[in-house]
């Protein structure tokens, strides 16, 4: 490579071309359908040395820069394979034939499924039987098949859901007209089964097909401005002006802002990734990413159990990343990052503006008024925001990292877009499986379950997970040296010894701290750390023995801790498309507990006790990964229709006795001179001498 590339940088377009070329020369086949050409991140062992050297920490300075490698997933002569390519030496390092596995969604193939489905004479007959309005267009929405055990999972199955677009405008909301049909399409693009969907809670599937109810045609479910003209005119313009430009600087993928440094990455599956996140030149996190996402629907009637989407594993947050627009998706001074994927032909595919970077004002950061002097000191909170947005068919997900001047970090998910819908008879007034949002339209209950992967490097490579609870002291009336008034409490803290999944408990104020036991805070006398501020939500509702639960292992506990393993990036397994389960985070842990047992190590998953260093499941003072599963049980509101106001979920990471004091103590004092705010005077402002005879005399800041 001619120009400098950092080991964490995504592949450049030239590298993508190079990788494809190396593979083409290596395999004799001419039938190569490329699915992934992405950076194969260097082994963490090598990166530890590289990063220590980069940041001037004594390590092995003789170590070479990690080899630049690509990971290719491709169908070679119809066989799904994965290759590792050494770009420096231009050789294929490894090849795996992924027997029985499926790649993520191929939009080209999905389009073929749509066309084949609509062209099928039996489907045509069913559509004719519905007696649809002449001018309407049938829209087929192909979905991946949520495994239910009713099919051979080695064969790709697609479920087609039917909608009607009643307007000629291609942006009309067809989800407002779900049709009572569903078709299972085979891997050979044949119609395998046609379902008549139930039209009431007590309806069975595959009752005789009913005619479309023309009374259900309505125009109140449009969101596109071409189709919904009535807009409020009261919202006045709001501009963010930064006369000296933004406070961040960007060099390649390295962002520097307010003592933070971090590298931005991007790949087809996780979308935005963050690497080597540091504050004031101290290491915090090796890598942060959304690692998986599962959206199971809760309607048990056939064939709805098949609606269960892995939006990262099957769709890809990178593949589905929106092209963010200045002034629309982002307000203020915006820096954009592009992403590069590959076409099926192995040609670099540019996705412009997949990540935006800008600053926001977040109100007051800290304030104190000395009541004796009346003097107030105020600082305002500036935040750096990194945002990416994916469209998963009907839904949009907005993923943001917010960086604070106080060294805090917030990950936020906003769910928006359009609800997935199912038909319902207009005779039905309610449904126990969802909410009626428009005539003939039921929005089924479902869950959105996310898993944030936190690969910590809190002041060093070996970390531990500490669980703290606040507990009352024993009430000891009459015993002055203990807790005579019944108000005393203390904290119980325990290091988690072994890989395990843990639950939240607000009743005990359970706090999860990632600590570096080798680094003791000179002031507090405790291990330096960062705490997880979790998002409280319901775990997966599906039964533990269901396919849903076996496929989405991460969703059964809120917090997981595992040993770092290079191949363990995806807590529902590497290949989620029609997966059978048993390959996720719980399985990893179980396999090592087994080995731990063989080794005679202690394998309790309980909090407390010391980990045994030889035990592969030990996570005390080790290179560990923390996973936070969170989400929402989304029982729709009619207010989520026809397009959903953002539902926010947020997760925090905050220093706990990591610094010597408030790291934002040095933030500039907030003054009107700098902030140029404007006083609003309205007609009601009293200038008639009604003021009190005395003034409180309280001074403010500035």
């Amino acid at each position: 490579m001619c120009s400098y590339v950092h080991p964490f940088d995504p592949l450049t377009p030239k590298e993508i071309q190079l990788a494809a070329g190396i593979l083409r020369r290596h395999v004799t086949a001419t039938d190569i359908l490329f699915r992934v050409i992405a950076l194969c991140e260097p082994p963490k062992e090598e990166m530890m040395v590289f990063l220590d050297n980069e940041h001037g920490i004594p390590h092995d300075t003789s170590a070479a820069t990690p080899t630049r490698c690509a990971r290719i997933q491709a169908y070679v002569d119809k066989k799904f394979c994965e290759f590792k390519i050494n770009l420096d030496d231009q050789i294929v390092v490894s090849k795996d034939v992924l027997e029985g596995r499926h790649s993520h969604i191929d939009p080209g193939r999905m389009r073929k499924v749509e066309l084949a489905c609509l062209a099928d004479p039996r489907v045509k007959e069913k559509i004719a039987a519905l007696k649809l309005p002449d001018e309407a267009t049938v829209v087929v929405e192909p979905w991946t098949y949520g495994t239910d055990g009713m099919n051979d999972m080695s064969k790709l199955v697609t479920m087609c859901w039917f909608y009607l677009r009643v307007s000629a405008d291609p942006d009309a909301n067809f989800y407002a007209f779900p049709l009572p049909l569903s078709v299972e399409m085979s891997s050979g693009l044949e119609v395998a089964h046609i379902f008549h969907l139930p039209l009431s809670d007590d309806d069975e599937t595959d009752q005789p097909l009913k005619r479309f109810d023309h009374n259900n045609i309505h125009s109140s479910s449009e969101y596109h401005p071409n189709l919904s003209s009535s807009r409020r005119a009261t919202t006045k313009p709001y501009h963010v002006v930064q006369p000296e430009g933004p406070s961040f600087s960007v060099q390649g993928n390295l962002i520097t802002w307010e003592k933070w440094t971090l590298r931005v990455g991007f790949n087809y599956r996780e979308g935005m990734t963050l690497h080597d996140i540091r504050y004031d030149d101290r290491s915090l996190f090796y890598r942060l990413s959304l690692s998986e996402m599962f959206v199971p629907y809760g309607d048990p009637r056939t064939p709805y159990p098949r609606k269960a989407a892995f939006d990262l594993g099957n769709d890809g947050a990178g593949i589905c990343a929106n092209n963010l627009q200045l002034g629309c998706d982002c307000l203020g001074h915006i820096k954009y990052f592009d992403g590069y994927l590959t076409t099926n032909a192995g040609i670099p595919l540019k996705l412009p503006n997949v990540i935006c970077c800008h600053e926001i004002d977040d109100g007051i950061l800290w304030k104190h008024t000395n009541f004796r002097t009346g003097n107030a000191v105020v600082t305002r909170a500036r935040q750096l925001v990194l945002q990416t947005i994916m469209t998963a068919s009907n839904y949009e997900y907005i993923f943001c990292f917010y960086f604070g001047q106080d060294a805090s970090l917030t990950y936020e998910v906003r769910a928006t877009g359009i609800l997935s819908t199912a038909p319902i008879s207009s005779a039905a007034t309610t449904s126990r499986y969802g909410t009626i949002v428009a005539p003939g339209v039921m929005a089924p209950n479902h869950q959105h379950l996310f898993c944030l992967r936190i690969d910590p490097a809190i002041d060093g490579w070996n970390n531990s997970l500490q669980v703290e609870e606040s507990v009352p002291l024993q009430f000891s009336p009459g015993s002055p040296e203990e807790n005579p008034f019944g108000m005393g409490y203390t904290t119980n803290t325990q290091i988690v010894p072994h890989e395990t999944g843990l639950d939240l408990n607000h009743l005990t104020n359970r706090i999860f701290k990632i600590v570096n036991e080798e680094k003791v805070n000179g002031t507090t006398g405790t291990a330096v750390g960062y705490k997880l501020v979790p998002f409280y939500s319901q775990p997966l509702l599906a039964h533990a023995s269901s396919f849903h639960a076996r496929r989405s292992e991460f969703a059964s506990h809120a917090v997981w801790v595992t040993r770092y393993h290079e191949e363990e990036m995806f807590p529902a397994g590497k290949f989620t498309m029609q997966s059978a389960g048993g390959e996720g985070i719980a399985s990893w842990i179980e396999s090592r507990r087994g080995r731990g047992r063989e080794l005679g190590g202690e394998v309790s998953g309980e909090v407390g006790g010391d980990g045994d260093g030889e035990d592969p499941s030990s996570v005390r003072n080790k290179d560990i990964v923390i996973w936070h599963s969170f989400g929402s049980t989304h029982n729709p509101r009619v207010e989520d229709w026809p397009v959903m106001p953002c539902e926010k979920m947020s997760v925090g990471l905050k220093s706990v006795n990591f610094f010597e004091r408030n790291p934002a103590l040095d933030v500039p004092i907030s003054t009107q001179e700098k902030n140029l705010s404007v006083l609003v005077i309205d007609g009601s402002e009293s200038g008639d001498g009604q003021e009190g005879k005395e003034d409180s005399g309280r001074r403010g800041c500035c």
Copy 2:
């Protein structure tokens, strides 16, 4: 009154003067020490008629405007009394002598306590024994006495805590030098007891006093810019510009913004209050306010159990309201509201700028990209913010209401300011009661427990509380009509029949909805409602039989529902100063359960079943009040020192099947033309032809 005053408007300065004059003429005493002259809000029964008439809803149009009344609390000849004054007829309506009660803190009296304490020869002797630096100043911080049963509660007790100001600058942080002394001052301003504070966890109180450790003098605990000069210079200016002005308008205390209307109120105790909150001319809430706040410390060693502050009942969020400054506390186009209290002499006291009102941008409100057309539609979320800030000695609390264009409402508390501190020996490396934040300084563990009072009027005056949980359906393998795949779930909803306290449960996705059972949503077929989005936190840690628990009854459950009663505004009781407990929300409920039992009504506090209309504890389809208790168990981080970055807690109120569809559907589409964002180009921007050969072709919005 010459100018129009709305029944919800706080008393004007003229009305305060008038009320004081009426009282002075009524009582013969000349010794009147005024503590409160505030609006006595009209009876809700009268306001229901008034508001219905005001909003054109047929009611009794012949009803008179409610009488304008003032509530006065004053010491008349040293006796604490409460009066109700009819300002229209200029008469005293009622008088209560508040035997054994105490008024809220009187800063003048506290100053006298400080001086008397410092002047006491025994205290002087103790201070001399400490061998303090010559140039340092002893600062006495008087605190209300957190009842511990060791004193006659009818006599006002003050606890004095001692600190050292080592700098000549009056804004130096004296909390950085806590002294091992505490003095109990009697109601007669006499020293009642001197405590030697313990200096390690195992130390007993009242060990021989040790000399002040001069090695503990440090300069790293300053926050004031005069004393901490090192400030980062990287934060570039950030301006909010609204060329057409803000989107809100204000008439007196009526705010109109984006389909919202509401009235702002202000009083000495609750600070900011909101009244008659409506969206699109539909009633949502009669009144919203922070109703109480309790801050108990968890260190059981004598005399620390006395550190337990009712910051509303004892201090007053209005009394302690900050004078907000343009460009410091508030960024953008700011409208300020002033508050008026009274001096001890009954003269109106103006508190300027106690509430600020402005708009913020909150990122994306909703978005959808039609993947078939590539067309994206984006709206941005504008929010209206009402902010007030109180200083409670060392701490600051920022209280904000955020209004959304989607008819959602968020209440946020930010805790900032300075930790309360206790001395600790520099030999101690850690403490089980708190965190060492600087040499010789221990910040003890404590809780902040807030109670938001929600007086709903969801589409009418009678509402119910509905509890919804999401529950798996019975797994029925092999039974195709039930839940054969184990993924089905549904919701259980129950109306709470009787007054009770309830807990949060994220594991069952427990949702609290305030519904109007008389109004059914035409689309969903369910009662219109608003849901509480609670803040998950730990309830009070103190033992149920402790004074703490008996005094702060609201803190034992997260959600309470009660029948509306005019006098039930404060869930820890009306008079919290040295209260003995048993007068809060649990006691109210218990008293009516008792009456319910006498009446033969069903008195189960469990969810489920029908309420009995005759039962005074029935809350189904009644004029009810919802109370949300939340807060934080604050085990300090050293990063909270010397001034604490805001700790945010937020509570939401969101429509659930209240509207016919997304109420923000008509928000203007976000466009660059309106938003004038700026593209940031940095040196790394690639112009070297590295772009891919193919572009994803995805279009954005605009």
